[in-house]
Structures are given as C-alpha cells and as structure tokens.
Amino acid sequence: MATATAHHENSNYLNHEKGLWSWLTTLDHKRIGLLYFITVALFFLVGGIFALLIRTELYSVGETIMTAEQYARVMTYHGAVMVFLVIIPGIPAFLGNFFLPIQIGAKDVAFPRLNLLSWYCLLLGAGIALTSLFFGGADTGWTFYTPYSIKHSPAVICMALGVFVAGFSSILTGLNFVVTTHKLRAPGMTMNRIPLFVWALYSTAIIQVLATPVLGITVLLLAAENIFGIGFFDPALGGDPVLFQHFFWFYSHPAVYIMILPAFGVISELITTFARKTIFGYTAIAYSSLAIAAVSFFVWGHHMFVSGQSEFAGIVFSFLTMLVGVPTAIKLFNWMATLYKGSINLSAPMLYALGFMFLFTIGGVTGIFLATIATDVHFHDTYFVVAHFHYVMVGGTLMSIMGGIFYWFPKMFGRLCNDAWARVSFVFIFVGFNVTFFPQFVLGSLGMPRRYFDYLPEFQHLNRISTIGSYLIGIGFIVGLITIIHGLLKGEKSGPNPWGGKTLEWTTASPPPHENFLTTPVVTAGPYEYR
C-alpha cells in the first residue's frame, strides 16, 4: 500500500464499530440498509426457490414433482415472500435507506431508532409468517381471499399476523423518509434540487404511510374472523366476502406503486450517470411520481371488474386506471429523451437500466389491456395477468434493484464488481425473463387461468418454454450473486466516483465515513449538472 493516510481518514461506516453486536444495535442508516440487503437477499433466495418449484411442477401436464395441495402452498409462499419480504422492502429499505440521507446531504435519517426498529419489525413479521409452515402451511394465495381463507387454521392466522407486523416496517421506513426529506436536507438542497431517486422514495413513502395501515386492519379483521369467528367476511355469519377484496386492494394496489416507484427513481439515476447527461424533464418525472402516488389510491376496483361490483364502479375504476398510464408514459419518454445526444456507457448498471425500459414498456402497455374493461373480463385471473405483473415487478423492480446494486456497490464497499460478469448476469436474467414470461401472455390469451396446478395438454408446449426460461433467470441471479461476493472480497478499489456521477453520494469517500460527510455539503445547483 503506497498510501499511508492517517487512521482517521480510513475510518468508514464499516470499520467505525466492530462486532456482530455493533451491527445488531446500529443506528447508522447505511448499516441498517445493509442489514436489509442481507435479509431481502435471503428472502429472495427463498422466494426464488419457490418460483423454480412452481415452474418445474408446470413443466408437464399432470402431477410432476408435487401434489396439488403442496402446489397451493408453494404458490402462496412464493407470492407472499416475494411481495411482502422482497419487493416492498427491496429498494426503499435497502438502497433507499443507504442513499436517501447521503443524496440530500444528511448525516442520517430523522429517526435512527425507528429505522432500526423497522428492520426488527420485518424480521419478526417474517418469523411469524413463516411459523405458519409448521402448521401445515397456508394455501390461500398471497391475496388471502375470503371466504376460502376463513378456515380457523393457525397457518392463515400466522400469515395474517406476520403481514400485520411486517407492515410496521414499511410504515416506519416511509415515515422516516418523509420527515428526513423535509427536515434534513443540506443547505441549498431545495426540493427542486433533490435527486429523482429521493423524489421517488418520497412519493413511495407517502403511500407506505397512508395505505399500509389499511392492510394492517384488513389482516387483523381476517385474523379475528379466523380466531373468534366474527363475521366480517363470511356470508354465513352475515359478512361480505367482496368487502375483503375492497379492503385488500385498497392497500395492495397502492402497494404495487410502493414496489415500482422506487425503481423509477433508480432508473433516473442510472440513465443520467451512464449517459453523462442532465435528466430530461426533471419536474415532469418528479411530479409524475407524486401523481401516480395520488391516483394509486383510487384504482383498486380494477382488480374486481368481474367480482360482482356494480357496472358503474367498474367504469369509474377503468377510467381512473387509464389516468395512471399517462405519468407512466411520461417517464418512459423522458428517459428515452435523456439518452438523446448523451455519452452512453454500457456498463452493467446501464444494461440493467435499458433492460428495465424494455421490460417495463411491455409491462406498461399490457397494463392498458387490463385497464380496458372489455378485454380485462377475458384476461382477468389468467396467465396474461401473471405475465403482466411479472413484467412490471420482476422486469421493472428486480432489474432496477440489480442495476442499483451494481451502480452503488463501489460506494457501499469501496470496491468494483467485475463488469463483464455483471453483464453476463444481465444477459441471463434478461433473456431468461422474456423466455419465461412472454409465453405466459399467450397462455393467458388462450384462456389458461392462473394458480393452476394442472392444465390442458394443448398448453404444455408454452409452459415448457416458460419453465426453461425460469432456469435461465436462476442462473443469471447465481452469476450475479457470485459477482457480488467476488467484488466484496477481491474487487478493485473504486475511488469515490468511478462512474462520474454528480449527485452528492459521489462527493464523499467510498465507503462513506460514519456520518456520511466530513463537512456538511453546501448545494448550489441541481442534481444532474453535466455541462
């Protein structure tokens, strides 16, 4: 080592304190972000194994590797783990926790203790939810539709209470982000100078704070009905099963935007850095996130066009859902326009961002097929819907998580990942993803319903293609994981700003010091000043 800097300058958040206990009791947002990273990655592994089990079962007509009862459980845990324990906390609680304070020039989030508590809420919630496996497992699907889910089964009760507790993780993170964004910005960091990732997290946080309590109440009612037999949703006790769907989707539709808005934020960061160009339409992108957050509360009924809700309600929900399409289209056009006359570097994070745009565009346009009420009646609850939301959630959110990890990895750990291997992981995930999910659009159009353990022989061909694609995705993530571990252990030293980024995190050391900046930054310009 040629550099003989003083110990003081080598001090960073990773070596500031030592030992497992210092991690479990840390109040540093960066460390909590990494705790979330490890947790979410583990749950992703679990959810991913369930996904591969589903696809393997569906490789052939009839029973392939498991019974219908086991299949119902695998499908339920795949959905519940991926939604509640991976995609919802994925970007905000991991990348957001780490970078939101740094990007606005703050030392930490507003409530560090609540931040740590939120991680324990997620762990506890996950623990309670997974305890259900010891009671035979829940087989209701992640949506817990009543009256099927009213079976006085400890498994369903555990799942409901687990989701309730994990919900607090989401609420506390959201609360922290709203307050941090408003109160802890560095001098000169006005609201129209904050990076678009922060705007996206801020919009997400509003949904987390306002919508998650509704889910909490809903699953508590479900638990009460299961434990005490109170008739909220069971028609035999005077309840209304469709009421559950209203409650559930009143949260779970906005939750879709909890999952995708942060991804939009990551993409805005990646596109500007790797095109070395200021973002096109900063205001439009920032406000379109807020617009999506606002409208997201009024579209839940589009999950219920064939539930028996009134024709009038169906029409209103169809109309409002169409409105979400506009800000979404705006973002895609803005990103494309940002590439115009840029200087485009096709490193792995950028490939993930471009892959995101490709997949999310397909996810977006197929959303219009489902918002159009006449076509939705045909596509509802078929594989078309499965393909659509995987294009949005996996093609969108997971692609942007991967891009974000490779982008911020040098900042988090001071080392670079091997870019060639990161690109190999991209190719496998991107190609595998399309091979897996594009045939599912066709299956759904042909009429194959979702949550099917078995199917007509004429659907086998497309199902086989889909299963093979899922293995390619699996390989891609394994390559990605190896690349990350290799980067952690053997990666080249990166320096503070390997990509030439302009946002504040690139002005501090890699890894950042304990309180992010040695001196509080003073901001004099917007976030993407590439002149």
């Binding site: 096109f280 197929t366 042909l446 009429g447």
Partner: protein, 349 residues
C-alpha cells in the same frame, strides 16, 4: 425520425395482429367485439414499443461513449414535446376506455327472453339446473375418469346464467364446509363472472357457432381448482329442445316445485298469488317491480332480493308492511328450494 419502420409496420400488422392473434376462436358477437379492441391495443402497443425501445436502441448506438471526456448537450426540457407525449397517450387511453365501456355495458345486460339456467359451483365441480327441472352434473366416462358436466345450450339464442356457490354436500353442518368464491370463465366467449357465496351473480352469452366449449374456474378455490372444469355444448335449437325434454328431466319444473313449497311452507298464509293483500306483499306481478323500502330507498324484486327476503326477512321490508312478522326460513329451505320459489314468483305475471 424516419417513418420507414411505421410503413413497414402497417404492412405487417394485418398479419401479426389479426383479430384473434393468440386468442381462442371467437364464438360470440361479443367475443368478436372484444377481439377488435384487443387488435387495436396490440397494434398501438407494438407501435409505442417500437417508438420507445427502437428510439432507445437507436440512441444507445448513435451516442455510444467515445472518450472519457465526452461533452453532452444540456437539454433540460421541452414543453411542446412533453405535451405531445402526454396528450397523445391520454387520447388513446380515453378512446379504449370508452370503447371498452360500451362492450362491457353489453356484457352486463342480458337481452329480454334469454334462456335462464341456474349454475351451482362447489369445491370442485359445476352443476346446471334448467327451469324444467333437468339437472346436469359431472360423471364418469368409459375409463372411469371424471367427465365434466356439460351444459347444453341452443345455438344463436341468448343464455343467462344465475350462479350461486354452495357447500360440498348440501346438508353438511361441518363448519369447514363453506361455500367459497369461484369464477365462471368461457374463453371462447371472452366473458367471466365470479360466483360469490351468499348471493346470486349473473352473466349471459349467445354462442353463434355450434360446438363444444371449455369452462374454467378462474378464482382460486383450493387444490382442485384446476380440475374444476365444465363443457358447454351449443347445438341447433331443435336438438336442444329434444335434449331438454329427454330423460333425466326432473319430476317437476322448478316453478311447480316452488308452487308446492309455497303451500307446504305456508308462504300462502301471508303472501297471496292473486293480488289480494294479506299480511305481506302479494307475489302477483311482483317480479321485476321496483319497491319502496321501509326507512327509505328502493329495491328491485330480483333473485337476490327474494333470496334475502326469505333468509333475512327484516333486511328490506316493503314500505307499508309490518316488520318483524316473518320468521327466517334459513335452515328450513335448501338452496335449491329457494331457487324453486324464485322461479315460481317469476311465473306470477
């Protein structure tokens, strides 16, 4: 931007996005209309995709980084451009919204004089009950495999389904044996409707091509969900009439069974069938009427109203009649009995 790709596209599209690309053959007029919207969406989606992703790929190649010190243009926004790419999608969205609305409206309103069939869903089977008392259930084929129930319908005539969810065994007192959600989906007709416990839901279709069609359950209902299938066989009207009158027909029509229950369960004591006022409202001409409800509001006398009034008589009491007089008949009448009474009331024109 060059318009060559668009010209090329317009030549390709009729082939790529024929009215039913990826869709099963359309068997109803409604299905054809749905496929038109679908084709329109497919074409606009392809064009949007080519503009967005084609543009993206074009820019990526054209503006690939050449040196580590490249200078880039500083373009922050362009109001005209931003207006255009917000407003054009908005117009397209509003257009398909309105188009979808129109078709959905037709889906939800069955024509007058449709053939009515009662459909019962349970874990994990379908059962069909015709008004003449004929019942169709699943059975076993020659090899001992489960053969799905086949609902026979006349070609070219509207059919209205009145659907209910029921327990696995009608007389079960097992609290775990409860009706759950199902959904009745005919891919060839592009329609589906959830079957909701505790009430009736309806849907209608008119198959214009003779043939056999699949029915799938599309609401997850447990491990037998994917095995919960039925068939619809559309046959010429004369064949249908012959089939309907053939063996397997119930001993009496639903309406006659309802008339018998009307006497034996003492409905007649309070509700006349000839228009005279006794204790409760008469059944004569009641069907389809809009009724004032005690405490305000109106209710149409339909399947759900009659069912509720039998099982929970005080929920919606007709204005001008005393509340709390009629006892509930829950537990005394089976689900099929309630349907029979409904069919009886329908006949009292």
């Amino acid at each position: 931007m060059s318009f060559k790709p668009l010209v090329l596209l317009s030549l390709l599209l009729p082939g790529v996005a024929g009215a039913s690309t990826f869709m099963p053959p359309a068997a109803t007029v409604t299905a054809g209309e749905v496929d038109s919207v679908y084709a329109f969406l497919l074409i606009t989606s392809l064009i949007s995709f080519i503009i967005l992703i084609g543009g993206m790929i074009f820019f990526v190649f054209k503006y690939k980084r050449k040196s580590a010190t490249d200078k880039t243009a500083y373009i922050t926004h362009d109001h005209t451009l931003e207006f255009v790419w917000s407003f054009i999608p908005f117009l397209i969205f509003m257009f398909v919204f309105a188009w979808g609305w129109k078709i959905y409206h037709d889906m939800r309103h069955s024509p007058e004089g449709a053939l009515e069939v009662h459909v019962m869903a349970k874990k994990w089977d379908w059962r069909f009950l015709y008004k003449n008392g004929k019942e169709v259930t699943s059975g076993l084929d020659d090899k001992g495999q489960k053969a799905p129930a086949t609902m026979v319908v006349p070609v070219g005539k509207p059919v209205k389904l009145i659907m209910a969810s029921e327990k696995i065994s009608a007389g079960s007192t097992d609290p775990m044996d409860r009706p759950v959600l199902h959904s009745f989906f005919i891919p060839a007709a592009r329609i589906k409707q959830d079957v909701v416990p505790g009430r009736y839901t309806t849907m209608w279709f008119q198959l214009d091509q003779p043939g056999d069609y699949w029915v799938f359950c599309t609401e997850f209902c447990g491990s037998g969900h994917s095995a919960m299938k039925a068939r619809i066989s559309a046959v010429p009207v004369a064949d249908f009439e012959k089939w309907l009158a053939a063996e397997g027909t119930g001993e009496m029509t639903l309406a006659d069974k309802g008339r018998a229950l009307y006497s034996s369960k003492a409905c007649a004591g309070c509700h006349s069938a000839d228009g005279t006022r006794v204790v409760g409202p008469t059944f004569k001409s009641a069907w389809g009427a809009s009724r004032d409800i005690e405490g305000g509001g109106k209710a149409t006398v339909d399947e759900n109203y009659v069912r509720e009034s039998i099982l929970n008589p005080n929920a919606k009491v007709a204005a001008g009649y005393p509340a709390g007089v009629m006892p509930t008949f829950a537990g005394q009448l089976s689900d099929d009995d309630v349907k029979a009474l409904i069919e009886f009331i329908k006949t009292l024109k």
